[in-house]
Symmetry: C2
Amino acid sequence: MAKKRVGVVLSGCGVYDGTEIHEATLTLYFLDRAGAQAIAMAPNIVQHHVIDHLLGAATSETRNVLVESARIARGQVRDVATVKANELDAIIIPGGFGAAKNLSTIAFDGPEAKTNPDVSRLILDMYQAKKPIGALCIAPAMLSKVLAGKGVTLTIGDDAGVAGAIQKMGNVHQESDFAGIVIDTPNRIVTTAAYMCAASIAEAGQGIEKLVAQILTMV
Amino acid sequence: MAKKRVGVVLSGCGVYDGTEIHEATLTLYFLDRAGAQAIAMAPNIVQHHVIDHLLGAATSETRNVLVESARIARGQVRDVATVKANELDAIIIPGGFGAAKNLSTIAFDGPEAKTNPDVSRLILDMYQAKKPIGALCIAPAMLSKVLAGKGVTLTIGDDAGVAGAIQKMGNVHQESDFAGIVIDTPNRIVTTAAYMCAASIAEAGQGIEKLVAQILTMV
């Protein structure tokens, strides 16, 4: 039987300016352990900014989202602009500020955010093809903007501000914690709070493990 | 009961010029899941070089090992120069070229390599205190140099060149694959091949999961 092909959308490498590394790595781990094929991808764009993760402050450096994402993917990462929905059985978007700063402008513009056109096109194609979509941590806020007005149900944990933004986008927020997943069965969307609520990597892993299993069940 | 405190020595962020991200993340995951406290640390030095992980080629950038390691540790990483062996119950060194280019010069100098003095001091103090030491992937070659002449038994998988270098350093190489661990009981050292042999993250995870469990048993 052919492996299930799951796109993993990266947004850089590091929680404050890119993909949350633990969330992405555990997603890849649980997918591979279940016998699925992960296909890592990212947009070929300049990062919004570079954060020194030791000091928590912006630096004067310039880094590229695709190039930095390649660190998480051990070099095997595709430009999302070249990926078509018919190559994938499902898609998962890990969190980290990259989802809110590089894949979208959620971190700055809330419900008025813009989203990356290539990522948005792929998500919309997956949605219209009724293929399952997973999102972790803050990534459901970006997903909510791409699917604005469709009334999809999502969780970003229990942050009232982000939950309110999701509702303003015409979607439904459901509270959850790190151990749970929220399943929107008709829309084939699965979300989990991960580090929006988790205090440690094993806590984040609880929801991510369930999300990956649920996505593969829905394929 | 107090948590077991396990130092995790990082060497940057990315397989080709720093810590192998999957190996480090899975080490942190298995430690946390087992109820241990991981204490991430790295030397505050400039990286040997920066590799574009998409192209596999060196760039003109300059990055700091401690600052980049903070990406894997979500900001919580200590300068290894400030860490004392009496703060730790055990130590684990993930792989990636950072262990062979930043923590040591193994990648360039083989058995004649130099090793970072702060990392070497901490490893030697742990060894003399009979506290367990774990190393993954290529990191056992660096460990072998720090413990040169002590006749410790290690694995880096089945690479004949690196195995020969370990023997030239006065230690013993034992072949293994990604699923196995090599335990040197009298010297309290546990090693696993990880991505030296593994073709995927779940394969690497097999040995890493066993190594973490073994290290915690030995504490």
